[in-house]
Symmetry: C2
Subunit: 201 residues, 2 copies
DNA sequence: TGGCATACTAGAACACGTTCCTGTTATTCG
DNA sequence: CGAATAACAGGAACGTGTTCTAGTATGCCA
């Protein structure tokens, strides 16, 4: 319930160069700490110190640890999206193309298991106050899936609904993995299965 | 990393009556607090006080807040399961019967939004150490779904896989609701849609 | 240029999950 | 029954997310 104006977690256009640099340093430090030790290693005091910013300033930019990590994930999805959308996903059917994209995404995330743990955990812990950041992440991922589905053609309402279901399964399987109930290979097997169940052409 | 033997979060048969009573009081207090104020209102000191148990004892029974809340959810799912399995779900198709059961479950949970918030949040926060309790919850829910699907007939491997997907969507939609991204009515609409997409007879 | 609002730093302070310690009560076993 | 062991009560103490305070720097406007 702060009353003073402040840089929002979603960057505004009116930021000064110094502010953009601070935000950048904060996100970089966050990703580094998360990659090394997961969710619990991202300690606000440590993030502040590494990004050479006072603790209060960190909280001005990102009002909670969850905001911080979800924002970090949004920037990662952004990166992934740019990389994957350079060319159309290969495959004859929708299922094949979606499988290609989701497998690449999954593998890319599992390469840094601790980082993924930190980000997914934050997504799950997000309450209503983090809605905007969470929507950014989900929109980015939905775009990836829908683009793969349509394979150049137009996306229908139905396509978007299907993409949402796949994304739900995708997240749920990551959680099951984090929860130690399935291993990394199962994650992909289950997602793949969901794809073929949901996207019967 | 405790080394001494202790009453596990999953009750053993060898509990004395006094221990069973303590566990019961703890779960009752947990549900009461959660129903009144959600996840954050379930404070370990408060739970201990209300159940007339020392803080250390509470931690002996439930080694963390997440264990405690997931165990509470397991007992709630148990209750729901007993209530719903009194009679076979009505409906001609698998989709109709599953929809019936999941709608009842969803409505039952949404009647106590704060309690649901607390339990779902704990499910999502569960790490590997809570795997046993989480599995108990998921097994209970999967049973509900599979029983509705088969409508008296035998359940196949495939049925169980489909039930897992529906459960993933079910949880994910609850999270979206908790995260303020969709409202209570959307939860049911989305789940229903997933049912008809996944269970095309 | 001076004044003023806003942003930032440094660090104390607070809240709650968790751990630990000390002494007491209950339980089990010889 | 008596002694050993485990369980419990009561409460202090610690760690980390979050908030608050006081002082300093920075950018903006007259």
């Amino acid at each position: 319930m702060t009353t003073t104006a402040q840089p929002p977690a979603l960057p505004a256009d009116s930021e000064t160069a110094a502010q953009r640099a601070r935000r950048e340093r904060i996100l970089t430090a966050t990703l580094a700490l998360a990659a090394r030790g997961g969710y619990e290693a991202v300690q606000m005091r440590e993030v502040a110190e590494r990004s050479e910013v006072a603790l209060g300033t960190l909280y001005r930019y990102f009002p909670s640890k969850v905001h911080l990590l979800v924002s970090a994930m949004a920037s990662e999805v952004e990166r992934l999206s740019v990389r994957l959308q350079k060319r159309q996903a290969p495959g004859e059917t929708r299922a094949e193309r979606v499988a290609f994209v989701l497998e690449r995404s999954t593998r890319s995330l599992q390469r840094d298991p601790l980082l993924t743990e930190a980000m997914i955990r934050a997504m799950m812990a997000a309450d209503a106050s983090v809605a905007a950041e969470v929507v950014a992440v989900r929109t980015g991922m939905a775009d990836l899936i829908v683009q793969a589905m349509r394979g150049g053609g137009p996306a229908t309402e139905h396509d978007v609904d299907l993409a949402a279901i796949l994304q739900d399964v995708w997240f749920a399987r990551q959680i099951a993995w984090l929860g130690g109930r399935i291993d990394a290979a199962d994650v992909w097997r289950d997602i793949n299965q969901a794809i073929s169940l949901v996207l019967r052409d």
